[in-house]
């Protein structure tokens, strides 16, 4: 099955990319198992999955850094499966710091232009402009060891963009950075990507990052694409058990399914497509869909309350000792304290259910 973009829109020099039934084996490990994705021009696709799921293999195959055993890669309609890396014109930002230590930031950014025979003055101008774009115009003369990790990754981004690549490939570029810089840089990358309109493949194992950045997010497991879609669709309407369990926090609450609905904590809620449809199941309920009502006759007890700024998260023990997590605004959490009696119910939003 090919997964294509519902809204192909580009405001820059983005090109369409297609993975067609790609397979890759490493010995007995099937790293890519029939991967097919269509990426629209200018779209940012985030590939999300646990370690070893094949997301980096897919990115490296697109960049030409790894071979594929079967299948094709099309960029702008042309088959580039057997084109060598250095002829693909892809900009890649790696997880590890990859700046050339013997070159200044400017020389790093200009290196790709030097290889393309751009004259010295034009190289310098373009390098300085691109460094300005990532907010490092003042750091052009610095060597990598004189820069922080965040600055190095910005320079790496500038270096990748300076060659005006057909596609931008981001291989977990933020994973070595601390949380604050990470958040700031991801917003910056997204801003630049939208401004340039470049087709981008972003690989990460961080759900928050993938959901925040991707036009669409593809969830991979064992070399297969489990589901691809806009972040809200992935979160609210998972199609497979893996996606339902992997993306976001979920409570597993014992329930009974019948006729397309499931009875969870006394509330009949519709089942999502792909769920187990009958018999005893575990309903996967998001914490924000769990409602707590403080009341003296409540059978559940609050075990702990965590303050998360504008939100609060409460852990509640049900009469059958099941632990359920509920998330609410800080104002709604008034009256919740460890030991408080509460009544637990769920929002009537559709849920995914798996066999108990």
């Amino acid at each position: 099955m090919t997964h294509s973009s519902p809204n192909a829109a580009s405001n820059g020099h983005g090109v369409a990319v297609a993975f067609q039934d790609m397979h890759r084996w490493y010995g007995s490990v099937h790293a890519l198992n029939g991967l097919s994705i269509d990426i629209a021009p200018g779209e940012l696709i985030a590939l999300l999955g646990p370690s070893g799921c094949g997301k980096t293999t897919a990115l490296r195959a697109l960049g030409g850094l790894d071979d594929v055993d079967e299948g094709r890669i099309l960029v702008d309609g042309k088959d580039i499966t057997n084109v060598p890396t250095n002829k693909r014109n892809m900009g890649i930002v790696f997880q590890a710091y990859s700046l050339f230590p013997n070159m200044t930031a400017r020389d790093n950014v200009a290196y790709g232009l030097r290889l393309r025979g751009v004259d010295s003055a034009a190289r310098k101008k373009k390098a300085d402009e691109t460094l300005e774009l990532v907010g490092l115009g003042q750091q052009a003369g610095r060597y990598p060891h004189q820069m922080s990790g965040g600055q190095q990754q910005r320079v790496a981004l500038a270096r990748a963009l300076a060659i005006e690549p057909k596609v931008l490939l981001l291989d977990e570029p933020l994973s070595a950075l601390d949380a604050k810089v990470r958040r700031q840089l991801r917003e910056e990358i997204r801003r630049i990507q939208i401004m340039i309109g470049i087709t981008t493949l972003f690989v990460t194992h961080d759900q928050e990052e993938a959901l925040a950045m991707g036009d669409r997010v593809g969830v991979m497991s064992a070399g297969r694409l489990e589901q691809i879609g806009p972040p809200s669709e992935l979160y609210d309407r998972p199609k497979t058990r893996f996606v339902a369990e992997f993306v976001g926090l979920t409570n597993r609450i014992a329930a009974t399914a019948q006729g397309g609905t499931v009875n969870v904590l006394g509330m009949a809620v519709p089942l999502l497509e792909g769920s187990d449809q009958s018999g005893p199941v575990e309903a996967l309920v998001r914490p924000e869909n769990v409602r707590l009502t403080p009341t003296d006759d409540g059978e559940a007890r609050v075990a702990a309350v965590s303050f998360l700024g504008s939100l609060c998260r409460a852990q509640v023990t049900l009469p059958d000792e099941t632990l359920v997590v509920a998330q609410m605004s800080a104002s709604d959490a008034r009256g919740l304290y460890p030991g408080a009696a509460v009544r637990v119910s769920v929002e009537p939003a559709a849920v995914f259910a798996v066999a108990a």
Partner: protein
């Protein structure tokens, strides 16, 4: 004797970097009188062990008539045409060995790391093999090849410069270690991937990106190669090539003063080379010490 890189040159640390450890910052612990004396004693013993033979060589080679000092032995070096020729030949062999070793080893090691990392152990084993094979065995094995080259490739085949071929093999164990340590100190695979993604072919990737960043290892490997060539005797002698070591031995039988003067000069040359390498290959500091800027 097949000389292995030793003596003062053995201090060339594989992987290069600082050859002399710099004192770390921060407060120093005050030493007791006993510890200070022990340290000085150890230093004197070690320096004595290293310097005494050199001093003896210098003393012997500068002996003049009636207890005077003379540089006649050193001046006489210039008058020995066969000695000068052998020095020239040996230096040419050294250059060829260094170039050949680098051309053979650096691309192979980079390719292994980037494309076939599982072969790394095999390459390492092959490079270390010459250490386990005695020189005489090497000569017995290789002499038919040299005879063939001498008979079929004219002047080039019979030239002592062909010794560079076997010297490249002999230096592999030392050069491999030096270059490998440098390659391990950088993220070779990622740098190569980055360069190739930007449009560089393999040659540019190695020459413009990898080699400048393993400069210390390359310099260490080169100095070890030069040291090996300067000290190699067994194979040159058995294959009847007049390298500097062979000529020194011959001279030693005729005029021991000149022989020791040449040996001493070779050691000083090696020492100077080491200092130059330490200066040039000291390397740029690569440890990151920059904090993330405030947001």
């Amino acid at each position: 004797m097949t000389a292995t890189p030793g003596g003062p040159l053995s201090a060339a640390a594989p992987g290069g970097g600082a050859l002399i450890a710099a004192p770390k910052g921060g407060k120093r612990r005050r030493l007791s009188r006993g510890q200070t004396i022990a340290r000085i004693a150890i230093l004197v013993v070690v320096l004595g062990y290293l310097i005494l033979p050199l001093f003896a060589m210098l003393e012997f080679s500068t002996r003049g008539d009636f207890g005077s000092r003379s540089l006649n032995a050193y001046a006489a070096i210039l008058g020995k045409q066969d000695l000068i020729d052998s020095v020239t030949t040996t230096l040419q062999i050294a250059v060829l060995t260094v170039v050949g070793m680098l051309v053979l080893l650096v691309p192979t090691m980079v390719w292994t790391i980037v494309r076939v990392p599982r072969m790394r152990r095999v390459i390492e084993f092959l490079c270390l093999l010459p250490l386990a094979i005695p020189a005489i065995v090497l000569v017995v094995g290789i002499s038919p090849i040299y005879r063939f080259m001498g008979q079929n490739f004219g002047k080039i085949g019979a030239s002592p410069l062909t010794l560079a071929l076997i010297d490249i093999v002999l230096v592999l164990p030392f050069a491999y270690r030096a270059i490998d340590a440098s390659l391990r100190s950088i993220d070779t695979a990622t740098l190569a991937d980055a360069a190739r993604s930007l449009g560089a072919g393999w040659v540019r990737t190695i020459v413009q990106v990898i080699m400048p960043n393993i400069r210390a290892g390359i310099l260490s490997a080169s100095v070890l190669a030069v040291a090996l060539v300067l000290g190699e005797y067994t194979i040159s002698s058995l294959l009847s090539f007049n390298t500097v070591q062979v000529v020194i031995v011959v001279l030693g039988k005729q005029d021991p003063f000149i022989s020791v003067a040449v040996s001493f000069s070779a050691l000083i040359f090696g020492f100077v080379l080491l200092v130059v390498i330490a200066r040039v290959g000291g390397g740029r500091r690569t440890t990151r010490q920059v904090e993330e800027p405030a947001v």
